[in-house]
């Protein structure tokens, strides 16, 4: 860029029209790719996959954790972060069992989620029902919307 300003010459490199076409094609492909994946579906790539929703007074975090017991989960909340970690165990079956399918996996997981606003760390409830973890986190008083009446 500095050279350009100094010598007032666009570029020293020779640009062929074919090269220009190639660049255009690349840009088109990038555009198509970004259009194909809606931004909402972009997962962090870390388990557990969560759905985060916001109500008037609470944040709701829902995650699918089939086969995980409540005492195998570790959930911690700070002012605006939520940490979920745990381990999924699959009990060993009796010996001599011949597997036809083995798609379920065991292992550890841990995840940190940034919450959109400040929360009240004393008012957090978590429940595990039918393999779905639901965490209800109350917003901090200052973050809650206040109704203001017009006189």
């Amino acid at each position: 860029m500095i050279y350009r300003r100094f010598f007032n010459v666009p570029t020293w490199r020779f640009r062929s029209p074919l090269e220009e076409l190639y660049r255009m094609r690349q840009q088109m492909e990038q555009l198509l790719e970004s259009a194909a994946t809606p931004p909402q579906r972009e997962a962090a790539g870390v388990l557990p996959l969560i759905n985060l929703t916001e109500g008037k007074d609470n944040y709701y975090v829902r995650a699918e954790l089939p086969g995980v017991k409540g005492d195998e989960l570790d959930i911690q909340v700070t002012a605006n972060n939520l940490a979920i970690s745990g381990e999924r165990k699959i009990a060993a079956e009796e010996e001599g069992a011949r597997y036809h399918r083995k798609e379920r996996e065991a292992g550890t997981f841990s995840r940190m989620i940034g919450l959109p606003g400040e929360v009240d760390t004393d008012k957090v409830e978590a429940k595990l029902e039918n393999g779905i973890l639901t965490i209800v986190i109350s917003k901090a008083e200052i973050a809650k919307p206040k109704q203001i009446t017009v006189k």
Partner: protein, 136 residues
Amino acid sequence: MADTQSNELKVREKQEVTSPAEQTMPGLIFTPAVDIFETEKEITLLADIPGVKADDLTIDIRDNTLTLSADIAPVDSTDEVDILVECESGRYYRQFTLGELINQENIDAKLNDGVLRLSLPKVEKATPKKITVKTG
């Protein structure tokens, strides 16, 4: 990091069913992940179906085809706004062909923490008869 924690779970996209039949109901359908193993006496099937209540699960055996289908109760989130959606929920559907004859009266199904455990006892075969050929 990846080397030290080798047993860390990897993220797997939920498998969406590519139309078992023409759909007349709205909503997504997923294929549950399963373990199937066989012992001398029975075939056991474990399936991950988070969000399914015992009443909403249908197990059907017909002509050597085992069909699992499950509905999930919709999440009560009327006044909630989505901030982040990473996994979608929907019904579950999967079919299996059974090779062995199954004793249909003693099928046992348990649903715990979103995992279905289905025990399919095999029909006891008649003890193989050995025929000795006498010479004489």
